[in-house]
């Protein structure tokens, strides 16, 4: 099968790129996502704060996703959900897998909009056991907001990036005891706006220059050892859940080893991690317009 433009990932960036390429005149676009629902991580971000730049309104993630999906429906962009892009090859072909079957696509241009993945605690030199009850922040967000899964009761957050802050607030609002947010740096890692909105009103302690040095509990997490990075002092803190916000890694495994071919562009979080969906979308729009224009002529 053939398509002029293949876009991998239907998050804020992939959809913005598709819309822009369509508007620029490209009429043969295939937008693919492994998820069943368009919007990437947006549907799980129930809080407001999306679309300020693009729509002049503070939307929730799902509302923002709905807006862009509606716009997409008015174009002729083909959307393949529940479809995994298994491989992208140097001869400008890609292999897609879904419940309907395996298919091979030949394309002219590829826009990678595959987002990012979260750094997991496994990458840190943390001692102790490996019990249940440890989740990444995005994972906890997906579990709570899309799956109705309850992550735990006595929660410690490791990492004060925006995601850590957002999850701290959400857990408090869900009736959980958020014991503290732990940060290795000297100050809050996330945006000041998120600190003011998510941490201050709920009086969640933010402990800087601190890290988790060990996990305890053979089956379910029972506590962690906290270490002060300046004094080296350690203390045992009981908790049953650890939510980690250790940073985001652009997801580019699909094109690893292909070098830097002229038919490939990156947009959104797989290009560089964006704090705001609007900025991921703006970047994607510019590239979508250029690539779409080149394909239209």
């Amino acid at each position: 099968m053939k398509t002029e433009l293949l876009i991998v990932g239907a998050g804020a960036a992939g959809i913005a790129a598709a819309l822009a390429a369509w508007e620029a005149g490209c009429r043969d676009i295939l937008l693919v996502d492994r998820r069943e629902r368009p919007g990437g991580i947006l549907p799980q971000c129930l809080h407001e704060g999306f679309g300020l730049a693009a729509y002049g309104a503070e939307l929730t993630g799902p509302a923002y996703a709905d807006r862009i999906t509606e716009r997409l429906a008015q174009t002729g962009v083909r959307l393949a959900l529940g479809t995994e892009v298994l491989a992208v090859r140097g001869d400008k072909t890609a292999v897609l897998s879904g419940r309907g079957g395996l298919s091979e696509w030949r394309f002219e241009r590829l826009i990678l909009a595959s987002g990012c993945r979260e750094r997991s605690i496994g990458s840190l030199p943390v001692a102790g056991t490996r019990p249940a009850g440890i989740f990444t922040a995005g994972q906890a967000q997906e579990m709570m907001n899309l799956r109705g899964q309850d992550v735990g009761r006595e929660v410690l957050i490791l990492g004060s990036g925006d995601l850590g802050l957002i999850m701290a607030r959400q857990l408090v609002l869900a009736g959980k005891h958020v014991i503290a947010v732990i940060e290795q740096g000297p100050r809050c890692g996330g945006m000041a706006r998120n600190y003011r909105r998510c941490i201050e009103p709920y009086q969640i302690p933010l402990r800087c220059r601190t890290t988790v040095s060990a996990l305890h509990g053979e089956r379910r997490l029972r506590g962690v050892t906290l270490r002060n990075l300046d004094s080296g002092a350690e203390e045992l803190l009981p908790c049953d859940t650890l939510v980690t916000a250790l940073g985001l890694i652009p997801e580019r495994e699909l094109v690893r080893g292909l070098g830097d071919p002229d038919w490939l562009s990156y947009v959104g979080n797989c290009h560089r991690v964006h704090d705001l969906a609007d900025s991921a979308a703006a970047e994607a729009e510019a590239i979508g317009t250029r690539v779409g224009g080149e394909l239209a002529v």
Binding site: G100, E118, S123, P125, R130, P131, D150
Partner: protein, 479 residues
């Protein structure tokens, strides 16, 4: 009371292979495991090396079994449909003392007829493995060394034993063994078993189990070991198993390119409890060794660290024991106590050895219907695109990728549950899901929902690895 000819206690590698080999005879066999699944103990965490057989005293049981096991390993893995990578190994020396160790191992290997052994210079070693440290001055090359996933092998053996008629009793802890007129009574926390012979393969607790009836001359004194795992896309990943023999005579170090594609580094050596807890010093040691031996490795690609427990066998006086210990305190009773390296390599040989003794004692003839073959779960990853398209046509679940790091499909997960996975770790061990670079942060929640649905239990009852490790809802109240 249930009656069997032979009861095997413990569903680790050794118990699973003992059961499998007992099935070669006309015997009614029970395999009793305390946990909810097989291979959750020592067999879950080790270095995964299939040794060539030059490490032990020529002529010893260990040396002979290892060489024989290695020779048969590819055939075994074909029978059980388990991936085996005969990638070869390089044991490295950076000084005179280690040179001498390598020469001695080389001589041991020659006298045991280990195939293809070669002593290499540093340059020759770097030709085979360009990323080795410049300080490497000699190496022992063993082309027959390889690696296998230990739990995959053990699970395969348990499935094969079950298919050949062995009865598997999970969640059943042996509390004690009693002598009876006809044989033995096995008391568990569930029910009582009667049998004519016992193979005690209780791993870290084998001495304790034996001591419920007989004294044990061997005692297990556990210590700990730490490992790191690097992502499959690690630059300068060695193609061979790298083993380092340090000049100071301290603990050696291994880098193993696993069958999954990741790189396993370790172990450390330290005092430890039986709690599988990682030590910070141990991790630091492994990192330091890795940086020294393979300076081009980016340890930033670490995706996981874990701990293992060594069941060190000791005599009453505290002295350590180098050989495999198979105690035989009374007719019809055998214990494998403190079987550590190379117990994975020799699992089938040890199982066969123990099974043969029991069969001879019971005068059991061969069971002609024994089928050594087992089919593994068909993995989408690694299929040709044509094959993959065909399996999706016959089963659409093969089209749905659930673990995107490791490319594991829903069909594989469902099959794992059908084959006995009752926990998230059980799915992980049977399919490889959650073992990749995101460590399950994108798929664990999906697997949890699938598992609950398939088992017909609420999501809140799904555990990571058995009761008490519920994934949702926080700490159990009664805890």
């Amino acid at each position: 009371m249930r009656e069997f000819d032979v009861v095997v206690i413990g569903g680790g590698l050794l118990g699973c292979f003992a059961a499998r080999n007992l099935c070669r005879r006309k015997l009614h066999i029970a395999l009793i495991e305390a946990r909810e699944d097989v291979c959750t103990g020592v067999s879950r965490a080790n270095t995964a090396i299939v040794y060539p057989g030059y490490d032990h005293k020529p002529g010893s049981l260990k040396a002979e079994m290892t060489v024989r096991a290695n020779t048969r390993f590819a055939e075994l893995c074909t029978e059980l449909d388990v991936p085996f990578s005969r990638c070869g190994s390089l044991m490295l020396s950076c000084g005179e003392r280690a040179d001498a160790v390598l020469r001695e191992k080389y001589r041991n290997g020659l006298s045991m007829a280990v195939p293809g052994l070669r002593l290499l210079s540093g340059e020759e070693a770097r030709e085979l493995e360009p990323s080795l440290a410049p300080g490497v001055r000699s190496a022992l090359y063993a082309p027959t060394a390889g690696t296998v996933n230990p739990w995959e092998l053990g699970i395969a053996a348990s499935e094969n034993a079950a298919a050949n008629g062995a009865d598997l009793f999970l969640n059943t802890r042996v509390l004690g063994v009693r002598k009876t007129a006809e044989g033995y009574r096995i008391e568990t926390d569930r029910e009582v078993f009667a049998c004519r012979a016992v193979l005690n393969c209780a791993g870290l607790y084998a001495d304790k189990v034996q001591e419920t009836l007989f004294p044990s001359e061997v005692h297990i004194v556990p210590d700990g070991a730490d490992y790191l795992i690097l992502d499959r896309v690690t630059d300068n990943r060695p193609a061979h198993i790298i083993q380092y023999e340090p000049e100071d005579g301290g603990k050696g170090f291994n880098a193993v390119p696993t069958v999954e594609g990741s790189l396993l580094l370790g172990p450390s050596e330290r005092a430890g409890e039986v709690d599988f807890a990682v030590s910070e010093q141990g991790l630091a040691f492994v990192r330091e060794r890795a940086e020294f031996v393979l300076p081009g490795l980016d340890l930033g690609g670490t995706i996981r660290s874990f701990a293992a427990v060594r069941p060190n066998p000791r005599r009453e006086d505290g002295s350590s024991i180098g050989s495999f210990v198979i105690e035989h305190p009374a007719p019809g009773f055998w214990s494998m106590i403190g079987i550590k390296t190379p117990g994975l390599t020799c699992a089938d040989e040890l199982g066969r050895f123990a099974a043969e003794q029991a069969a001879a004692f019971l005068n059991a003839g061969p069971d002609e219907s024994f089928d050594p073959r087992r089919r593994g779960i068909r993995k989408a990853r690694g299929m040709s695109w044509e094959q993959r398209a065909a399996v999706i046509r016959s089963d659409p679940d093969y089209g749905e990728v659930v673990c995107c790091c490791e490319d594991i499909t829903k069909a594989e997960v469902l099959e794992a549950v059908r084959r006995g996975a009752v926990t998230l770790d059980g799915i992980k061990r049977r399919t490889g899901a959650c073992m990749g670079r995101c460590q399950g942060s994108r798929c664990q929640q999906k697997l949890l929902a699938l598992l609950a649905r398939e088992l017909g239990i609420p999501e809140s009852a799904v555990t990571k690895d058995g009761a008490g490790s519920e994934v949702l809802g926080g700490r159990p109240h009664e805890d």
